[in-house]
Symmetry: C2
Subunit: 249 residues, 2 copies
C-alpha cells in the first residue's frame, strides 16, 4: 500500500527529532521537503530519492510527494517543527483527497511554541493560543479578531510569523491590540533561530515588543497572561498551585 | 553547579521521546516523577536514585527535586507530554525561586495537542487554543470565558482534562458554549490513551461530544474551526492554500 509519512523534524538539531520521525525517514524510499529542512536530515537520506524545492513551493512539493506514493514509493514529506502545526500535514491530505488508497500518517514533532517556551522558561503552563501573523493565506481582519479575543480571554499568546520582509508592522499592531486588555508591563519574550546556530532569547515587557528590530521572521514571540511572572530571569506562568500539594496535572 | 532538567517524555512510547530528553535523563544522578511516568523510562534509570510519588503530589515532588539539586545532584524531573504545557516546568521554578544558583532547563516533549492531532489527521493547521477544563486550580468562570472567546475567535480548540471522576459535566457545558458560535456539525475528534496501550481515536460532530461516555480523563478532545473538514475519515483544517502554490509556512 502506498504510504506518506508527514514528518515533523523539530526545530533543527538532531537532539529534538523523535525516534519515530527518524524511523519513518529511514523506512522511506523517498524524502520530499523544503531545501533547508532536507539538508538538516541528510545523515538519514543516503541512498534515497531526495526531492527538495525552494520556499513557497508547498503545493508543488505536496504533489511531488503524492506522485511518488502513487508510484508505490514510501515517502517522507518533511517539515520543520511539527508538520501538524501550520505545516504540511493538512495540505498533503487536501492534495491526496481523491486517493484514499494512499495512507497518510502524521509523525508529530516539537513545534516552535514548545521549543520556544522551553528556552524562555515555562510560559505555557496555563491555557494558551497560537496565532500566526502571516496574512498571505488569512485575512488581516481575522487575525486581528483572534488577537483581540485571545487577549480578552487572558490566554498566554504564542505568535508565529511575527514579521516578514514585507510585513514589518504586523507585530506592532498585534501588541497594540493586546495592550487594550493587558498591561504593557506583561512579561513576554522571544526566541530567534530556536535549536539552531545563532539561537537568541530575550525576556522583556509586552510594550518592548513594539518597534523591536531584533525580531524577524525566524522569531517566535510569547506574551504572558495576567499571572505570568519573571523568576530568576525566566518567564513563568503559574498553574495556580498553592504549594500545599493539592491539584492534578 | 546544581542542575534540574524538567523533562517532557512525550505521550508514553519510547518512539516519542527526543534524544535530548533521553540524554538529560542519562546525564542525571536522580530522577523524580509521578510513579506511572517513572515506570515508562525505567530502561534509562538503572543505577540512579529514583523518587516516584503518587498522583496529586506535585508540590512534594518539586521540593524533592529541588532538595536533591541543592545537595549537588543533577536531577531529571519528568512529566508526560511536554513539561512546559500544564506541566512541572513552572512549579519547579516557583519552588526554587529563592535558589537562583540552581540551574533549571526545560527539555520540551510532544504534548497531547500535537500527538492527538497527529492521530486525528491535521486539525491544528491553523490558529488554535489549548484549554484545560480542570477547575481544581482555575475558576470555572474563567474556563467558561476562555471557551466562549476561543469559539467566537474561530480557533481550533484543543481540550485537556475534559472530564474527571468528579467532573463529568464540564465537557457538555463547554460544547454548549462552543455551539453558540459554531455549528453542531463542526468536525471534531478525540483520542484516548495517546501513544499507549489502548489508544483509540474517534472523528465525530461537535454535538456528538455531548453526553459521550467514552470520553474520560485520559482523553484529548479537538474541536475544528469553521473551515475544518473530514477528508478520508480524518480531520483536516485547511491553511488556505489555493493550490496554485503561493504562500509560506
Amino acid at each position: 500500500m502506498s504510504k506518506i509519512y508527514v514528518v515533523g523534524i523539530g526545530p533543527g538539531g538532531r537532539e529534538y527529532m523523535t525516534p519515530q520521525a527518524e524511523a519513518a525517514i529511514l523506512a522511506s524510499d523517498a524524502v520530499v521537503g523544503y531545501t533547508v529542512y532536507v539538508k538538516l536530515i541528510e545523515h538519514l537520506t543516503e541512498g534515497k530519492k531526495v526531492v527538495s524545492t525552494a520556499m513557497r513551493g508547498e503545493v508543488e512539493r505536496a504533489r511531488i510527494a503524492l506522485d511518488l506514493a502513487l508510484k508505490g514509493k514510501t515517502v517522507s514529506f518533511v517539515s520543520s517543527g511539527d508538520a501538524g502545526v501550520y505545516g504540511m500535514a493538512g495540505l498533503i491530505r487536501e492534495v491526496a483527497e481523491g486517493h484514499p488508497e494512499v495512507e497518510i500518517e502524521t509523525v508529530p514533532g516539537i513545534t516552535a511554541a514548545m521549543s520556544g517556551a522551553a528556552v524562555l522558561g515555562a510560559p505555557l503552563i496555563h491555557d494558551f493560543a497560537v496565532i500566526s501573523l502571516s496574512d498571505l493565506l488569512t485575512s488581516w481582519e481575522l487575525i486581528e479578531k483572534r488577537i483581540s479575543l485571545a487577549a480578552e480571554a487572558d490566554f498566554v499568546i504564542c505568535i508565529y510569523n511575527p514579521k516578514s520582509h514585507k510585513r514589518r508592522e504586523h507585530l506592532d499592531k498585534a501588541v497594540d491590540l493586546i495592550m487594550q486588555h493587558r498591561s504593557g508591563d506583561t512579561p513576554s519574550g522571544y526566541v530567534k533561530n530556536i535549536g539552531r546556530d545563532g539561537q537568541k532569547s530575550v525576556v522583556l515587557k509586552l510594550s518592548e515588543l513594539k518597534g523591536n528590530d531584533d525580531i524577524d521572521m525566524f522569531t517566535t514571540v510569547i506574551v504572558g497572561n495576567s499571572q505570568t511572572r519573571v523568576i530568576n530571569g525566566e518567564l513563568v506562568t503559574p498553574r495556580g498551585y498553592d504549594h500545599d500539594g493539592k491539584s492534578e496535572k
